[in-house]
Amino acid sequence: MGGCNAKRCGVGIDELSHLPDHIKEKVYNHPCYSQEAHHFYARMHVAVAPACNIQCNYCNRKYDCANESRPGVVSELLTPEEAVKKVLAVAMEIPQMTVVGIAGPGDPLANPERTFRTFELIKEKAPDIKLCLSTNGLKLTEYIGKIKELGVDHVTITINAVSPEVASRIYSWIFFNHRRYRGLEAAKILLEKQYEGLKACVENGILVKVNTVFIPEINGEEIEELSKKVRKMGAFLHNIMPYVESDGTVYQRMGIKPPTPSQLKEIQEKCESHMSLMRHCRQCRADAVGLLGEDRGQEFTKDKIAKLEINYNPEFRKSIHEEIEKEREKLRKARELLSIPLQEDKGISVLVAVASKGNMLVNEHFGTAHEFLIYEVSSKGCKFIHHRKVTPYCHGSISCLEGGEVLEDTISKLSDCKAILAAKIGFEPRDVLEQRGIQCVDEFACLPIEEALVKYYEKYVLKKKAVEV
């Protein structure tokens, strides 16, 4: 999609467009792999894997909080049988859920029986659901046969370094061959196993995404090299995620700082020339349920599921997916017609924050948005950069007394954005936002995101009259 002619430039930029067709087909409905799909399809993680075999300096296994959203955190551990019941319940309740992953709260392959039993049961009862696995890679080569046999065709490996020196500053220890290794020795074994596992997946036709936790002062210098290396080895997607600070970790005690949004953007841009980057990752919990931006896990707790009678109906699911595809097709056709006039001076590039709750539309109110999708709009088109989490302005307290503080926080997170596009923006925040130089635009409510961005760009950035619909 996209592409330019002499006067105007196409809008849609698909990060997976260069991939071979058989891979495109595999990731087409996968919210974690396809940026477009994540607007329409949902995923869930089942928390069946509590044990871990390594200790990362950014992880604290003691911490568990239902309001915390980050990997490694989970509220309720499930047995494989409970997990499959939850999967079937969610599959009927949220039929746009296409993918089940096991990502922890520990490492799936440090819990091989629980992990593989869960996959077996899902495969048996709901064969239309895609399975994926997210691992630190230490045991990947060992279990590659089993992974292939179960039809798990997507594996994510978290690799944070190229050199053992850097890796030794990220991991405190690993448990391998009945021993605890530390320092350089641990780092060497882990890296060797991770890259070996990547190779084994590629050789077995399993799609590999590599996750990297970006910790500027620790591995910042190696990220670009890592990106090149994993692409060369056959990973199809690289996901550079910001390190998230959490209580009680080695890094917190050391005062290690997470990257700023601009540091993240910079490193992503550097690596983008080497391979496809994933920009829409929400670093979700090991028990997350729903579209990527949302977590409906609380609707599917063990107590609630135990009471449910579930009649799994793949036909019903299929019909919903067909509806979604019709919608996607319509949007795609509309997008192909969109274009931005080219300008002599290459055009101004602006960042725009968009409030959306799915279906690729500007359909969320400013006051209820938990996150904004940040797009870069220029004469080259609209490019999704990343999302930024915020506290909703109307956060549910009786009055909006703390609204001012919340608004300040949101402004600080969006200060580099020229405008906010939302379905609605109330008078009070609007005045403050406008004073601080952020345009508030709700006239494009419920339009497809890219169409709204183009209209905004033409009307407000190029100061042209709005194009007639």
Binding site: P50, L77, A110, R179
Partner: protein, 74 residues
């Protein structure tokens, strides 16, 4: 000789249970993990170090049980 799990530190991650060569570790329905001191040999004769300690993510959670007359422990 035996190892002991300090309940206040245990996060019930199951990691130790699967690694124990003498099946001395088990858990109840609430996810409380215990080591049976009559079965635990601190991995002597099996591995260089107690496996439960080597894989436990919480430092100081699994310690050596000392000065206890094992005959009295249920």
């Amino acid at each position: 000789m035996a190892m002991f799990i300090r309940q206040e530190d245990c996060i019930s991650c199951y990691a130790c249970e699967g690694e124990c060569p003498t099946k001395a570790i088990n858990h109840d329905e609430e996810g409380r993990f215990k080591i049976d001191p009559r079965l635990c040999v601190e991995c002597e004769g099996f591995y260089e170090e107690p496996q439960c300690v080597a894989i436990c993510p919480i430092d100081g959670c699994i310690v050596r049980l000392e000065g206890i007359d094992y005959g009295c422990v249920e």
